[in-house]
Amino acid sequence: MKQEIRFRLNGEEVALELRPNEILLEVLRDRLGVRSPKCGCDRGDCGTCTVMIDGRTVRSCLVLAVEVNGRSVTTLEGLMHDGLTPLQKALIERNAYQCGFCAPGMILSASELLAKNPHPDEDEIRKALAGNLCRCTGYSPVIEAVALAGKETGSGGRAS
C-alpha cells in the first residue's frame, strides 16, 4: 500500500515512499531528521508540532504525510535562509524562552502573523500565539519580542 509522494521541504525537493497512515510529524522527525517540530500532545491542542504548509501553519500531528504531496512544507529550519531572522534575534535579546520546547512551533505561528501583518498590536499577537502552549514563560516576554520584531523590521519572520 506504499505510495510515493514529492514535496518541497524547506525549499528542497523531497521524494519519499510511505504508507498512507504515516503522520506528517513522524515522517518529518523520524524519516527526514527534521527535529524542530515536537510532539507535545499528539491531538492538536498544544501547537509544538506546528509547521507550515504553503505558508500556513498547521498541526503536523493532525496531518497525514500523503496530504503534502505536491505542496511546500516549512519548518523552523527553513526560516533561517540568511542566519537568524529578526524575530529570532528579538527572542534571544528578550530572553523570551525558558525551556525552549515550544519555541519552534511558536516561532512559526509568529512568523505567519508577521508575514500577513508586519506591525501587529499586542492583542493580535496574543491571538496568533494562542494555539501554542507554553508552561514556562507566562507568554509576556514572547509577546514583547514579537512586537519588537514587528517594530524593528516590519517583517520578523519569513515564510517560504
Binding site: 503522520i23 501547537g47 493532525l62 497525514l64 491571538k127
Partner: protein, 295 residues
C-alpha cells in the same frame, strides 16, 4: 503516536470519482481538514479501509455569493472564511464565530463542513446553520440533495447523511432584510476551548430575531418561543427578563467535565440577554465591534 492500522488513500480530482470511490466499499472515511479525523484514526476509533481526501476537488474549495445566499464549499477552511471579503461584508458574524474556533493552526485546516459532520453537541457550526436556516448540499450514489439544517442533525455524532454521501457545500441564505448578529461562546477561559454553551443571535430589521443555541441539547436548536416573544417588540429589560425565563423551556443542558447543567443554564440566560442586546445594538449601528466577546 502512530496510527495502528493500515488503509488505502485516494485523492480524486472530481466529485463523481469521489462518490464512486465511497460507494465502492463499506469501510470508508472522508478526509477534508482532518483535524477531527486524524485523531480518531490514532485512537483506533475509526478503522477505515479507504480514506478519500476531498482536497483535490477544486469546486469544493469555493466561497460564492449570489446576492441572496452564501455558498461555502466543503473544503473551505475557517481561515478562508475569516479572510473572505464576501463573508466580511455580508456575514460579519461568521468571522466573529470563526475566530473562536480552536487556534490559527487548526483554523488553517479545519472546515465548516467537517465541523458540522462531526455533529458533536459542542460544535460551533451548528447554531450558525440553524440561525441562518441554512441547507447542506450532499451528493451520493442516489444523486444530489439539499438537507435543511433543521433536519441535518439527528443526535450527538449523528447526521442525516446516508452512507456514501459527501457534503459538498453549506448554503446560508442572506436574511431578507438588513440584519446584525452576535456570536456568544462560553469557554472556560479566553483561549481555545470547546463550547460549553454557544449561541447565535440575529437581529433583523423587520423586528424579528433568530436565536440558536448549541451545546445545551443533543442537537443545535432554535429558541422559537423566545423568538416569537421578541418579534416586533422593543427590547426592554422587562422583555429580556421574560425571555430569560423562557430559556428553561427551550434548552436541556447536561453536566459533564466541562460544565454543570446548572452553570450552563445560568449562562445560557446571561448569554441570551447580552447576545440580543449586542445584536440589536449592532443593527442600529452601535454596540461592540464584531469580534468583541460580550461575556
Amino acid at each position: 503516536m502512530p496510527i495502528m492500522h493500515e488503509f488505502a488513500y485516494a485523492k480524486p480530482s472530481r466529485l463523481a470519482e469521489a462518490v464512486s470511490l465511497l460507494s465502492g466499499q463499506d469501510q470508508t472515511a472522508i478526509l477534508a481538514g482532518g483535524t477531527d479525523l486524524i485523531d480518531l484514526l490514532k485512537e483506533n476509533i475509526l478503522v477505515p479501509a479507504l480514506l478519500v481526501d476531498l482536497k483535490g476537488i477544486g469546486e469544493l474549495g469555493e466561497i460564492s455569493f449570489t446576492g441572496n445566499a452564501l455558498r461555502i464549499g466543503a473544503n473551505v477552511t475557517f481561515t478562508e472564511l475569516l479572510e473572505s471579503d464576501i463573508v466580511r461584508r455580508n456575514f460579519p458574524v461568521i468571522g466573529e464565530l470563526a475566530e473562536t474556533i480552536a487556534s490559527v493552526g487548526i483554523r488553517n485546516r479545519a472546515t465548516l463542513a467537517g465541523n458540522i459532520c462531526s455533529a458533536v453537541p459542542s460544535m460551533d457550526g451548528g447554531p450558525l446553520l440553524s440561525a441562518f436556516d441554512a441547507s447542506v448540499s450532499a451528493v451520493g450514489p442516489g444523486g444530489t440533495r439539499d438537507i435543511p439544517a433543521a433536519s441535518f442533525f439527528l443526535a450527538p455524532r449523528r447526521t442525516s447523511l446516508r452512507p456514501g454521501e459527501i457534503v459538498t457545500a453549506v448554503t446560508l441564505p442572506l436574511p431578507p432584510v438588513p440584519y446584525a448578529g452576535c456570536w456568544v461562546k462560553l469557554g472556560r477561559y479566553a483561549g481555545e476551548d470547546l463550547a460549553q454553551v454557544n449561541l447565535l443571535v440575529l437581529a433583523l430589521n423587520d423586528g424579528s430575531f433568530r436565536i440558536s443555541f448549541g451545546a445545551v441539547a443533543p442537537v443545535p436548536l432554535r429558541a422559537l418561543r423566545i423568538e416569537s416573544l421578541l418579534r416586533g417588540r422593543t427590547i426592554t429589560p422587562d422583555l429580556l427578563e421574560q425571555g430569560r425565563q423562557m430559556v428553561e423551556q427551550e434548552i436541556a443542558p447536561i453536566s459533564d467535565i466541562r460544565a454543570s447543567k446548572e452553570y450552563r443554564m445560568h449562562m445560557a440566560k446571561i448569554m441570551l440577554t447580552r447576545g440580543i442586546e449586542a445584536a440589536a445594538a449592532r443593527l442600529r449601528g452601535s454596540g461592540p465591534a464584531y469580534g468583541t466577546s460580550v461575556i
